[in-house]
Amino acid sequence: MTVVATADRRLMEGSEAMAEAAIAAGCRFFAGYPMTPFTELLEHLAKKLPEAGGVCINAESELEAVGMAWGALATGARAATGSTGQGLSLMQESFSEITLAELPLVVFNMARGQQDYFQATRGGGHGDYRHLVLAPLDIAEAVELTQLAFHLADKWRNPVLVYGDYLLAHTHEAVSVERIDFPTLPSKAWAVDGSGGGTGDSRLVTPLGLAKHGHEAPGIERHLRGITAKHADIEREEQRAETAFCDDAETVVVAFGTPAKFARYVVSQLRAEGEKVGYVRPISLWPYPFDAVAEATEGASTVAVFELCAGQMIDDVRLAVLGRAPIVAIGGISTDGSGFGVGPLLDAEIIRDRVLAVHRGGAEAELPPLPVNERG
């Protein structure tokens, strides 16, 4: 990855930075439906995409938004949609089928106070489909991962989900959105532009495993198997994680996304005080970096999982650790009064206490009670 141009550095919210990153990546179509905390991403793209020669449509429903992106993708354009978890729930049938149609959709989840890890990685849709999932830590990484998402989507002809949240969307930071140059990919011979009509070689973009008369159709079974074989390749090649202080760590904290920034801060603080704690952060949620997490936790006595829900990523941590060490959930449900945003648990002091409780007392240690959002 080479950084190509130096853009102006200015104060902007995460949504705006991600919108600019999408455009820098060549996204020329976006459709979405307003929903907190995703709305601003749609607003910024509504303003910026036409300026960049693209199209942004305020779809009348989430279902139509993903459909429009589907049509744009089929013509070979870089296209995206997004919402928050509740809105993505509505798009699930299309997500599954777009994966089977091998279209390079990029999806933005600006998640609410509940976490959508299961929805993103297990998939709320039907069948054996997978989306690559990238979870940025902060705005700077979101700018990078957004552009990577478009590249990986085209590289694998598979949807990629960028997992953000309220904090990422609405935090303002001084950022410069610099375009990243990725390796060149083959051109999209499969894309539909109308020119195939009447030639005997017209194109068909379909999830159904069919082909035009005169061409061999894989049939649905062979087609599905081909897709899952591709997913096995993606699993091997696209795992991403960040690890720190794990070589001699007794306690390893696992976290992803914006909460991980707090966890990382706490761990480095404790390290500076001489505590043997380490940290591993999955950057790709699918494929989950099982190897990196296994390696990071190899010598640990306790693995502490910090996430802002009742426990979703912890299942993958269990798969990575495979019983070598006990695993404790040190996060929990914590959100603001609206349910959209940030709760009181996302606090360095509180997290530090919870990490220390487990680090000193082991897996059976009693954790301090979860903070309560006073507005309920």
Binding site: R28, F29, A31, V55, I57, A59, E60, S61, L63, E64, A65, V66, G67, M68, A69, W70, G71, A72, L73, A74, T75, G76, A77, A79, E93, S94, E97, A101, V192, D193, G194, S195, G196, G197, G198, T199, G200, S202, R203, L204, V205, T206, P207, L208, L210, A211, K212, H213, G214, A217
Partner: protein, 300 residues
């Protein structure tokens, strides 16, 4: 010399050889449209959908837009044609073709983008999509094959099934009290400002087929001019879904579906016609068609 030859027992005269092209003659109609890769398909005997397929493919070809046409197909019996039409094609989900067509057209504005959907697809599952696409005036053409049933799944009632119509779950006929009323989707769309050309055809006889072809041409021409959203609904027979003998299909359709979803151009250049106005027009046209048949030969 006399043209009178049809007696009560059927046509008189010997059976002629129809296995090979004749000498001293000119072909006036091809076996199948050029844009259809094979004539073979698995539609039921007496299915009306291939009749509509033929004429819209011919319309595309006659307009010279073959090499810039993008078709978006919904899910129904007609999905089988996605493999046999020689047109660049995107398969959509049930009800979802209009949004896919929107995305495609916005990225390829020079292409002629059209959908092919059934009534279950468009008016049940996808009602929202087609209405929004029409309201937005997207420059696409949505084509509706309306047989008043979900053909592919066995013939159940849809939102366009008319009162009294036989379907798998209304074998005694659709009853308003229990099943409610049909949606006249053509009329609904015609009243949306973004809809530029709205027409309803039918394939119950050759004259209707010819008239439907003209509607397709005018719809595609409307898209080419950039007028806005265009829409062609075509009533098609489904004797299987209606549980009636194959040969009764056209008359049954014309008398039930055709009596409610009335044939005609519902909206042209901003002028919207009511069901009564369309009906009166049809009566006048029928007289014209009868005279043309008496003179011999239809203009295609």
């Amino acid at each position: 010399m006399s043209d009178e030859h049809v007696g009560a027992q059927g046509p008189a005269g010997p059976v002629l050889d129809t296995s090979a092209a004749p000498d001293h003659a000119k072909k006036v109609a091809d076996l199948k449209p050029d844009l259809l890769l094979t004539q073979e398909h698995n539609m039921c005997p007496g299915c009306g959908e291939p009749l509509a397929l033929r004429v819209y493919l011919e319309a595309l070809q006659e307009l010279g837009v073959t090499q810039r046409s993008i078709m978006v197909a919904g899910i129904g019996c007609y999905t089988a044609f996605t493999s046999t039409v020689d047109v660049d094609l995107v398969q959509a989900l049930h009800g979802r073709a209009p949004s896919v067509a929107t995305g495609a057209k916005r990225m390829r504005p020079e292409a002629v983008v059209f959908t092919l959907q059934g009534d279950g697809d468009m008016v049940n599952e996808g009602l929202q999509e087609v209405l929004h696409t029409a309201a937005r005036g997207e420059k696409v053409t949505c084509i509706l094959l309306n047989n008043g049933v979900f053909g592919e799944t066995g013939g159940h009632m849809t939102a366009t099934s008319v009162l009294g119509q036989r379907t798998k779950n209304t074998l005694d006929g659709r009853d308003a009290e229990y099943h409610g009323y049909p949606i006249l989707i053509g009329d609904l769309i015609a009243r949306l400002q973004g809809a530029a050309y709205v027409a309803r055809g039918s394939v119950h006889n050759a004259g209707a087929v010819a008239r439907t072809k003209k509607m397709f041409r005018r719809a595609f021409e409307s898209q080419l001019r950039g007028d806005g959203f265009s829409f062609v609904e075509v009533l098609t027979m489904c004797p299987t879904g209606w549980f009636i003998p194959t040969g009764d299909g056209p008359d049954y359709m014309h008398e039930t579906l055709g009596d409610v979803h009335v044939m005609g151009e519902l909206k042209v250049e901003g002028v919207v016609k009511t069901t009564e106005e369309l009906h009166d027009e049809n009566v006048a046209r029928q007289r014209e068609v009868e005279h043309a048949l008496e003179r011999g030969g239809l203009d295609r």
